[in-house]
């Protein structure tokens, strides 16, 4: 039976099965792991290979220069470069989470490479102290590294994205530690990295300990419990457990704070293993020269024999085993797979799988199997789907999914999307597992990594097409992919002329609506292709992105034009300030003078905060009247400032300013009026200053001509009032209104009457009547009402002082029915008056009718 062959490949460790399928035969040639240092990235990431300079190796007709070679997990050469870096021996090499290869050399310099083997500038350094006493060893985690120097000091870069070297606390040891391990910052209490050092020499048990070093403290752990120094340590993925190998050949699994021993197993060898690794969370691998030992919590260890060197690459759900010839994946067999394929399994899933086999062979036993498991069909289907997910072998994936689908047909309450979802995941996984791509992700790793990170890794490796297809298939935003492609394309296409490249780019960019052309253009600019940048930015629909970029590539005039067009004044200001800063004032003035909106905005801003500069602008553009307005405005501010108005007010700076404004207005014909007004203003100020001196009252300055006249009259200074009148050619009409109201204000009724008799008032007696009524002086008003010429006015004036009869008479005289009606309303409360109006109106309408 087919099932048997599957389970036959498994090994039993204690009560769990393990399997070790081959992922790839390695494609590389002439790579001997024994001669090289290897760095392998988890999650099926790339491999870095470089000749180990700490070993003496024989060169087989190859260059003495070392080469750093980067391979995919399938052994496909991605890139290589010659290693010429100074700084001594390469101590450690590892991949960060974003697939940067970091290489630490003896003097503490850290070289970084991308997946295309390009050196990333600048190089980092672990600091002066490291430089002085060599780096002896280092340990990496996700995005950080810890180094120990030959003088046993520890240095750490906690995050390569923000690379600052920090010295950790002095562990206070003389001898170099026997082994070192780190607990990642995310799993420590302090949130900083914790370094574990295994110290003590073989003989003295009491010296043996693990020293935990942090940035601000050292702790001695373990002690007696260890019974001697540790030779090798490795921390589990979740930072909770520590697996270690003691000097006397025991494998110890303890909590990572070394407070309790979980497992203690004797090994046959006292020689420490070359490699020690966790396999998932429930087994530890020990590798000696040609033997790989897997130890579980109990039971016999499993032994694998290798006749060539191997490298253990821990993953979250197992360990990848790299040898010269192949890449294998050692993992615990998932429960679903066990339930289906264990020899003699009668689990529902196994029966379902079997049923499909019968069905395919047209055997009636298929139905029998189904009947047997009817009640547990959903879980059987689920197990098949799950097992399919864990398979690397495509044909087995297919068989399992078919079994699931077959079972689902008989099962009404199964969540149907599950199979479809799994198919989707598997298609993605199979695509990235292919030889060419070489990312052997397990389903668990894929889920942990997330699709978007996978896509980032693909585009980072320049697998844009696959990344695009996957993101399309999974319904994710393709913008990231296309954007990266476009930028990579620009970088790689130095030889392609701008126009051709533009076309190639546009063709792809249009796939993605809303993509930022400006960002691509910015990249083109960074690559020294300013022309291409200008062409690209033209296609950017968002002005808010387009304009800043145009500025950065020096296209200020286009930027100004675009900003103006789009109507966003904020962008216009952005360009404005940019040009303002960059250009000489005169050139700047010239630029904005030609663009109305920019000019107006500049003026608005300058009015608030750059007054003097604004004057320069108006002068340079010949807008003298605007300068004049500014000066005139300043004249008032001068008045408010007591320091500035020192000296004789008659020739004070204020009047000078106004006169300056007057002259500037006079320069242009259109502003004769303003010029005249400024002249009058200066004259008025002089006159007011004089008045303040003679009257010793500071009440004149900054009042209007009319108010000055009124004030004079109120003060009884009629001569001065007359002087102002003649000086400013105040019309008789205005004069009469002013004087009448002024006299009424001081209730000088005699003077008012005298004034009315001076001559016949040019505008009649209405001012007199109004002034009296407003002052509520009926008696005075009556003197003037009869003199009013218009009977309507007369009527209303009478009405206003409540004389109904007289009002009615006057109204009747005017023969205005509407007026009568209105007046009647005014007297609505007064019945007697009301009736007068009615009679009069009747008479009027009668007259009108006749």
């Amino acid at each position: 039976m087919a099932n048997v062959s599957v389970a036959a490949e498994w090994q039993l460790l204690y009560n769990r099965y393990y399997r070790k399928p081959e992922l790839y035969p390695m494609r590389w040639k002439h790579v001997d792991l024994a001669r090289n240092k290897i760095a392998a990235a988890p999650f099926g990431g790339p491999l870095a290979v470089i000749r180990d300079d700490s070993k003496i190796v024989q060169l087989h007709g190859e260059s003495a220069l070392r080469k750093l070679r980067l391979f995919s997990s399938s052994g496909h050469l991605l890139a290589d470069t010659v290693w010429r870096n100074p700084g001594g021996r390469l101590i450690g090499m590892s991949w960060t989470d974003d697939h940067t290869l970091v290489c630490v050399v003896q003097d503490g310099t850290v070289y970084r490479y991308d997946v295309h083997a390009r050196l990333i500038e600048p190089n980092l350094s672990l600091g002066k102290e490291c430089f002085e006493s060599n780096v002896a060893d280092c340990a990496f985690w996700g995005n950080g590294v810890v180094c120990i120097t030959e003088s046993n000091q520890l240095f750490c870069i906690a995050d390569f994205k923000n690379p600052n070297a920090v010295k950790l606390a002095d562990p206070g040891i003389v001898e170099p530690p026997r082994c070192m391990a780190v607990i990642e910052p995310q799993y420590t209490v302090s949130g900083n990295v914790e370094v574990l050092l295994g110290v003590g020499d073989g003989g003295e048990e009491e010296d043996a300990a693990v020293i935990a070093v942090e940035e601000d403290g050292v702790q001695r752990l373990g002690g007696e419990m260890l019974r001697g120094p540790l030779q090798k340590m490795v921390v589990s993925r979740d930072g909770k457990w520590l697996a270690s190998f003691t000097h006397d050949g025991r494998l110890l699994v303890t909590t990572s704070d070394l407070t309790g021993v979980i497992i203690e197993r004797e090994c046959e060898s006292a020689l420490p293993p070359e490699q020690l690794a966790w396999c998932g969370m429930d087994a530890v691998l020990l590798y000696w020269d040609d033997m790989l030992l897997m130890m579980g919590p109990d039971g016999e260890p499993v032994t694998y024999l290798y006749d060539e060197p191997i490298i253990l690459i821990p993953e979250c759900d197992g360990v990848r085993i790299l040898s010269n010839a192949s890449m294998e994946f050692l993992q615990r067999v998932p429960d679903s797979t066990v339930s289906i394929f264990t020899i003699g399994s009668t689990s529902p899933a196994a029966l379902l799988y079997d049923a499909l086999d019968h069905f395919d062979r047209r055997s009636a036993k298929a139905d029998e199997n189904l009947r047997l498991i009817r009640s547990s069909l959903p879980e059987a289907v689920e197990a098949c789907v799950d097992a399919a997910g864990h398979e690397f072998d495509v044909s087995r994936q297919r068989t399992l999914l078919r079994a699931a689908s077959y079972g689902q047909a008989f099962c009404s309450n199964f969540h149907r999307d599950r199979i479809q979802e799994m198919c989707k995941i598997l298609r993605v996984l199979n695509a990235v597992r292919s030889f060419e791509i070489g990312i052997p992700l397990s389903i668990q790793q894929y889920k942990l990594l997330t699709p978007s990170v996978l896509i980032d890794r693909l585009i980072n490796a320049h697998q844009h097409l696959l990344a695009l297809r996957i993101s399309e298939y999974l319904g994710m935003n393709q913008e990231v992919v296309i954007m990266h492609w476009a930028c990579a394309k620009i970088t790689a296409s130095l030889a392609i002329p701008d126009a051709t490249l533009l076309e190639i780019l546009l063709d792809k960019l249009k796939v993605c609506k809303g993509i930022s052309y400006a960002a691509v253009a910015a990249h083109a600019d960074k690559n020294g292709r300013r022309k291409l940048a200008a062409l690209l930015v033209e296609h950017e629909p968002r002005s808010s992105k387009q304009v800043p970029l145009l500025l950065s590539i020096g296209e200020e005039d286009t930027a100004l034009m675009k900003a103006t067009e789009c109507g966003d004044t904020d962008l216009v200001y952005l360009v404005l300030f940019h040009i303002w800063q960059k250009r000489q004032p005169l050139e700047f003035f010239g630029t904005i003078q030609a663009r109305q909106l920019a000019r107006d905005l500049f003026i608005t801003y300058a009015r608030c905060y750059k007054h003097e500069f604004l004057k320069d602008f108006f002068l340079s553009t010949g807008q003298l009247q605007d300068v004049a307005f500014l000066l005139w405005k300043e004249s008032w501010e001068l008045e408010k400032n007591p320091m500035a108005s020192k000296g004789s007010p008659l020739h004070g700076p204020r009047i000078k300013l106004i006169e300056k404004a007057q002259n500037l207005f006079a320069e242009t014909k259109e502003h004769t009026f303003e010029s005249k007004a400024a002249e009058e203003h200066a004259k008025l100020l002089r006159l007011q200053h004089e008045l303040e001196v003679t009257t010793k009252q500071a009440i004149f300055v900054d009042s209007s001509i009319s108010d000055t006249i009124r004030t004079c009259i109120v003060l009884g200074n009629h001569r001065a009032a007359l002087k102002v009148k003649t000086e400013f050619k105040v019309s008789e009409k205005r004069w009469y209104w002013l004087k009448v109201f002024a006299l009424a204000t001081i209730k000088d009724w005699a003077a008012l009457e005298k004034f009315s008799k001076e001559k016949k008032p040019p505008i009649g007696y209405r001012p007199f009547v109004e002034a009296c009524i407003e002052a509520d002086e009926k008696g005075e008003a009556i003197k003037y009402i009869p003199k009013l010429a218009d009977p309507r006015e007369k009527a209303e004036s009478y009405a206003r002082i409540g004389m109904a009869k007289e009002a009615a008479d006057a109204a009747a005289q005017s023969k205005d029915g509407e007026l009568l009606g209105r007046l009647k309303l005014t007297f609505a409360q007064n019945a007697a008056a009301s009736s007068i109006f009615d009679t009069l109106r009747d008479r009027l309408s009668f007259q009108g009718a006749s």
């Binding site: 809303g514 200001y573 107006d600 003026i603 608005t604 801003y605 303003e674 206003r800």
Partner: protein, 596 residues
């Protein structure tokens, strides 16, 4: 603080927009932990009072202050400045921070710009070397719901900035606000615009749609069918006339500020002498909703009727025996008693103004100017106002009206008026005159006026207006049909085409376009046809027209639009958006600039 208007009856879901604004503000406050001092620029405070209750702000541990040149007094060491992005306000922020520095106070500063941060404002902070001390953020409040059918962008200076300073920032703001509405209610398929600014806004709106497309597939049918944009410049006559509707008159005499009016408590018959009290004026007040848009003459009659019938009911109640249900009805009526007393008091207060001879004279003069018959009488009337030194705004209001209807004044008169104004009110008003001239509101005559043609063609003066049972919008000004609303009436009914000739006589270009994915839908074709075959939104509501006034709208115009919307043959609900609710006085005031 004013009562927040109830928006439940709004033709579109304005509540959600307001809630969004509330949430955004609360989030800003939450992001600054602990006790904090919120310093608001006073004008913004007005718009906020229509958006969120002060009590909610207080719940966030906020101490409220108004921004001014004076240093703020507060113990909080966290200060949030919430300001409109206006250049002159930066000075106040700077002086406040500098003041703290000089006193050795260490505070945490946040500046939130409304509706967005701008380069120019940040430049000021940078130049003052304060930029590094301040955390800058945005509060995207682009509009405020004044009532269930009125939105305001709260850009009170928009008209002046565009016309005088050439600063078109507000146009972008308006476009953005409309675009935001579109994100909630779908791309508005039809656009009609008249005036330079309006056409520009339509253009910016299209650009925004291209830059930040609205996913129209999310929405079945756009809720707003048409947007009509109109520049205030097109019709400056209407806002300068005295409004004669109830709400309009309250605004003219008592100044409605953000949906409420502040009056002496004694006016309302309350006992607190000299104390001011705020009366909210919006559609939540049922009686007000009924009478706000009516001509004041009619309002007085209606209030009298209501009072009489109430009195009658009361007498019936005391004299005859009543059934329980009748009693219930009576009590229900009694509930509306406070509203009635309030409006009767208000109306009475108003009539003390309306009966003044000066007001009647002014009304008379406005009509004479609109009739454009007796130039000399108008000239002399205004001259006399100046000589009597009547309030400058009153004078300018008539003068601008006079100038506009005559397409400017002959040079001799123009200079004469300017001289008389400077003599009477002071030379500092030269800046005001200069502003008015730049805006074309008070200027030298250069061409013949076409006001008479416009007036005749659009039938702006309607004889024998029955204010009680109006059949035309002219009732709002007792005989003058506001030009702006007449244009909108045409735009809604049949588009610009039939009135193109007259549009050409008015300032600025006009435009009529369709946008979005709906341009080919059959609804567009029917739009031009008979107006009763209009597509209906599925739930039977009428579809919507958004009318945007660029540069302000008066209450009387809003009333006229509501009147149009209530007509039987009207196929649309109207919603009004404006840069600010204005009246002749406030509009003229925006142009006033004293040099002193």
């Amino acid at each position: 603080m004013a009562q927040i208007p109830n928006l439940d009856n709004a033709p579109v879901n304005l509540t959600s927009i307001r809630e969004q604004s509330q949430k955004e503000l609360i989030n800003i406050l939450k992001n600054v932990r602990g006790k904090k001092c919120l310093v608001i620029d006073p004008k913004l405070g007005d718009s906020l009072s229509l958006t969120i209750q002060t009590s909610i702000l207080k719940e966030q541990g906020v101490e409220l202050r108004h921004l001014s040149a004076e240093p703020i007094q507060s113990d909080c060491n966290k200060v949030i400045f919430l300001v409109r992005s206006q250049l002159n306000l930066m000075r106040f922020i700077c002086s406040n921070v500098h003041d703290d520095i000089s006193k050795g106070l260490q505070r945490e500063y946040h500046v939130y710009f409304v509706p967005r941060r701008t380069v120019a404002c940040e430049k000021v902070l940078e130049d003052e070397k304060l930029h590094h001390m301040i955390t800058i953020g945005e509060y995207p409040l682009y509009m405020v719901a004044m009532d269930e059918d009125v939105l305001s962008f709260e850009l009170d200076l928009s008209y002046k900035e565009c016309q005088v300073d050439g600063d078109a920032s507000s146009l972008w703001h308006i476009a953005k606000a409309i675009h935001k509405l579109e994100f909630s209610f779908g791309v508005i398929p039809h656009v009609r615009a008249k005036g330079k600014a309006s056409v520009r806004i339509a253009d910016i709106l299209n650009r925004m749609e291209a830059e930040e497309p609205i996913n129209s597939s999310d929405m079945a049918v756009p809720e707003i069918n048409t947007v009509i944009l109109l520049d205030r410049e097109v019709d400056m006559v209407t806002p300068l006339c005295s409004q004669l509707t109830y709400e309009g008159l309250i605004d003219e005499f008592l100044h409605i500020n953000n949906g409420s009016v502040e009056i002496d408590a004694s006016v309302l018959g309350l006992q607190q002498e000299g104390k001011k009290t705020k009366v909210p004026l919006n559609s939540s007040d049922k009686l007000f909703k009924e009478i706000r848009d009516l001509n004041f003459e009619v309002v007085v009659q209606i209030l009298r009727q209501k009072a009489t019938s109430m009195k009658q009911d009361y007498t019936d109640m005391t004299t005859t025996t009543q059934s329980v249900s009748e009693l219930k009805d009576f009590v229900k009526k009694l509930n509306s008693l406070p509203e009635m007393t309030r409006h009767i008091n208000l109306a009475q207060h108003l009539s003390t103004f309306t009966s003044k001879p000066s007001f009647l004279g002014q009304l008379d003069m406005e009509h004479t100017i609109i009739e454009s018959q007796s130039y000399d009488i108008c000239f002399e009337y205004i001259e006399e106002l100046i000589h009597k030194q009547e309030p400058l705004t009153t004078v300018l209001r008539l003068l601008v009206l006079f100038s506009i209807t005559n397409a400017g004044l002959p040079k001799k008169h123009f200079d004469y008026f300017r001289r008389e104004l400077l003599h009477s009110y002071g030379f500092e008003h030269i800046a005001t005159l200069n502003n008015l001239e730049k805006a074309g509101l008070f200027k030298k005559q250069e061409s013949k006026s076409n006001w008479l043609t416009i007036k005749r063609t659009l039938q702006l003066v309607v004889e024998d207006t029955d204010t009680a049972n109006p059949n035309d919008i002219a009732y709002v000004f007792s005989g003058y049909a506001p030009l702006s609303i007449r244009l909108i009436q045409h735009a809604i009914r049949s588009g610009w085409r039939p009135v193109e000739e007259v549009l050409k006589l008015l300032p600025g270009p006009h435009l009529e376009t369709r946008r979005g994915g709906f341009s080919n839908s059959p609804s567009f074709d029917t739009f031009y046809g008979v107006s009763n075959s209009i597509d209906k939104v599925p739930d039977g509501r009428r579809s919507l027209v958004l009318v945007v006034f660029v540069g302000g709208v008066t209450f009387a115009e809003i009333s006229a639009l509501r009147f149009l919307s209530a007509q039987e043959n009207m196929a649309y609900d109207l919603i009004i958006a404006t840069t600010k609710i204005v009246n002749g006085q406030t509009l003229v005031e925006t142009f006033m600039e004293k040099l002193g």
